[in-house]
């Protein structure tokens, strides 16, 4: 088997807080093959976005740092690479779209300029070539009247259109990896579906691998082949999407799935009861403790869970679950 496009091993990201250092990402490993799509799932504050920012080298300055572990992209080690090289990769080989289309575009430049500048920076296109390319890209993300809209400012566009512009910016240089950090959270449901369709279609055309961050299990089923369930900075479970939805091996995954009734494959299947996961994600200062951090919310909790961090239990097809009771679920 050839080397994967992106390989993250034992990644640990620490945030310096007022009352000490918290590992927001604690011993995370995963792989992403070329053209593959993978989904990060979990509640807010579980470290999904931090993983993305870590890969991009955009952790908040002076607060966040990669403490240990490796991020290997296309044979290159991103944790030790120079800032200059990292800038050449960002927006060019790995790009990212964000959760907030309303505020993620610069209000004082035209959308055309904001697309064109990436092309000028990375592809060395001339001003007019980049501008024409921006028009084509707007067309590709299905903004009607692209030729006219290219000189619009972000405030003249709707939320869905702005997210399309963000996608156009991210895909301008045909990156190998696109990281989408909750790309549809701020949008209407109908617009969400359109954005997913668009991402899927562009992925088919360009062969870009997608890392999709979401807390919507429905989106996962629609977008990804494999998923990683994160809880409190740790990998709770990962593996092929269908296999996990079919048979989750971690109580947290199970809880997340039973929160969403509509992702069953057919209407005749027996449904789990629609339940919530009681409790909340533990505060940052409890991250990194040597125990199962989900224990306080788990209905299968035993003394072992409180005493020691569970190792990953390995099942078929790369499904792994960090739970002492994984085999019993």
């Amino acid at each position: 088997m050839s080397e994967p496009l992106l390989k993250v091993q034992n990644l640990r990201i620490e945030l310096s807080l007022r009352d000490g250092i918290a590992p927001v990402i604690d011993d995370l490993s995963f792989e992403l093959g070329a053209g593959e799509s993978i989904s990060f799932v979990g509640e807010s504050g579980c470290g999904k976005s931090m993983t993305a920012l870590g890969i991009m080298g955009l952790l908040p300055e002076k607060v966040g740092r990669i403490a240990s572990g490796t991020i290997t992209f296309d044979g290159e080690e991103l944790t030790t690479v120079t800032q200059k090289r990292l800038r050449a990769i960002r927006g060019n080989e790995i790009s990212m779209i964000f959760q907030e289309p309303m505020t993620s575009l610069n209000p004082v430049y035209t959308v055309g300029e904001q697309i064109a500048e990436v092309l000028r920076a990375h592809q060395g296109l001339s001003k007019s070539a980049a501008w024409n390319c921006a028009i084509e890209l707007l067309d590709a993300v299905r903004i009607p009247n692209a030729r006219r809209r290219v000189s619009d400012y972000p405030f003249q566009m709707s939320g869905g259109q702005r997210q399309r512009v963000m996608i156009a910016i991210a895909l301008a240089c045909e990156p190998k990896i696109l990281i989408a950090d909750e790309p549809t959270t701020a949008l209407d449901v109908t617009v969400q579906a359109e954005i997913f369709d668009l991402l899927n279609e562009l992925k088919r055309q360009t062969g870009t691998a997608i890392i999709m961050i979401t807390h919507d299990m429905g989106a996962v089923a629609e977008m990804a082949e494999r998923m990683i369930v994160m809880y409190a900075g740790r990998n709770a479970e990962q593996g092929p999407v269908e296999q996990i939805i079919d048979h989750p091996r971690h109580p947290y995954t199970k809880g997340l799935i039973s929160c969403v009734p509509h992702i069953m494959a057919t209407l005749n299947d027996e449904r789990y009861e629609l339940t919530e996961i009681a409790g909340i994600v533990p505060p940052l200062r409890e991250f990194g403790q040597d125990r199962c951090l989900f224990a306080s919310r788990c209905n299968m909790v035993s003394q072992k869970c409180l005493d020691k961090r569970p190792p990953e239990a390995i099942f078929g097809d790369g499904q792994r679950a960090a739970c002492w009771h994984a085999g019993a679920i």
């Binding site: 991009m56 955009l58 990292l86 800038r87 050449a88 990769i89 960002r90 927006g91 060019n92 790009s95 990212m96 964000f98 907030e100 505020t103 993620s104 575009l105 610069n106 209000p107 004082v108 430049y109 500048e117 990436v118 920076a121 990375h122 400012y153 405030f155 003249q156 963000m166 910016i169």
Partner: protein, 325 residues
């Protein structure tokens, strides 16, 4: 097209405002006790009622208020601001002689304060705990709390008397002969201390505001997007962040225009700068009503034009202001 139209609207408002200022100025001067007849009789060593009445009749001061106001407004429309009894010169001519000196002082101070203030703000916002940041804090405290005339006098003692670097007073050295550049350098040397004095208050304001807005903008989502695009640090800060943090500073600068002009009166007095401020000061002492009114009119004009320019500048910086749908 829409931009042009909204700009025209602004100009119409500006004219209405100017007329209102004229009426208000004239009314206030009229309400204040004492008139030019008193001053003239005083300088003659006293006069009886007959002579006072004669002077008042000569200058039309015996007419009813509305008639006086009407004739004043009519004259202003023809750019005739009356005749200064004190200087024996038409007021318009008097003011136009002095205006360039004041404009030179005011605009130089304002532009330098803006320019340096924004640069200091940006530098200190990028390193909130760096030396530049502390410097801005101290500068802001000093510039804001020190009275202009005090700063001016200190600078004079320091850099004109003790270290004889700059001239003490005036705008040019009449003994100097030479071409354009010689005079340019001469005026520039005279300009340094007054500009530093006047600019210090505004530099303090602008650098503080620029620092605050820049810090806010640097933490914004679109700056993160710019970084995620792989743009250089320079492009992120000076292209994406700076343009966004400019509009509050420009707005403030526009509002400060009136303060700059009133500040100029004090600075001109300290440095004997031959501008409108000195003229205003002398005319008030002399109760030279037409001159005072004329100066008020011109400073209102400068403030209104300043605000108009601010408006236009804002349109360049932020497309959301006016104009486009």
């Amino acid at each position: 097209m829409a931009t042009l139209q909204s700009l025209l609207t602004r100009i119409v408002y500006a004219v209405i405002l100017l007329v209102a200022v004229l009426v208000l100025n004239f009314s206030m001067m009229h309400l204040a006790p004492g008139d030019v007849a008193d001053t003239i009789s005083q300088s003659m060593g006293g006069a009886d009622q007959e002579i006072l009445d004669q002077i008042r009749a000569d200058y039309g001061l015996d007419q009813p208020f509305l008639v006086q106001l009407g004739s004043y407004m009519g004259k202003v429309l023809r750019f005739d601001l009356g005749y200064s009894f004190f200087y024996n010169t038409p007021v318009t001519q008097l003011i136009l002689q002095r205006l360039p000196a004041t404009l030179l002082l005011v605009f130089t101070a304002q532009i330098l304060a803006l320019f340096i203030g924004v640069i200091l703000g940006v530098i200190s916002a990028r390193k909130p705990n760096g030396i530049a940041s502390h410097f801005v804090t101290i500068l802001a405290l000093f510039g804001y709390s020190a009275p202009v005339f005090w700063t001016g006098i200190l600078l004079l003692i320091g850099f004109s008397l003790n270290i004889q670097l700059f001239p003490v007073a005036g705008m040019r050295d009449v003994t100097i002969e030479g071409g354009f550049w010689v005079h340019f350098v001469d005026i520039a040397r005279h300009l340094v201390l007054p500009v530093v004095t006047l600019g210090s208050i505004f530099l303090a304001l602008y650098s503080r505001l620029a620092r605050a807005t820049m810090m806010e903008v640097l933490g914004s989502d679109y700056v993160r997007t710019a970084k995620a695009k792989g743009l250089s640090e320079r492009e992120v800060v000076y292209k994406h962040a700076l343009k966004n943090s400019l509009s509050p500073v420009i707005t403030l600068a526009g509002l400060q225009f009136s303060a700059v002009i009133s500040g100029a009166v004090l600075v001109e007095a300290v440095f004997s700068w031959p501008g409108l401020g000195t003229l205003a000061f002398q005319s008030i002492i002399a109760r030279d009503t037409p001159t005072i009114l004329g100066i008020l009119f011109f400073s209102a004009l400068v403030v209104i034009i300043g605000n108009l320019l601010t408006d236009i500048a804002l349109r360049f910086v932020d497309p959301r202001v006016g104009g486009k749908r």
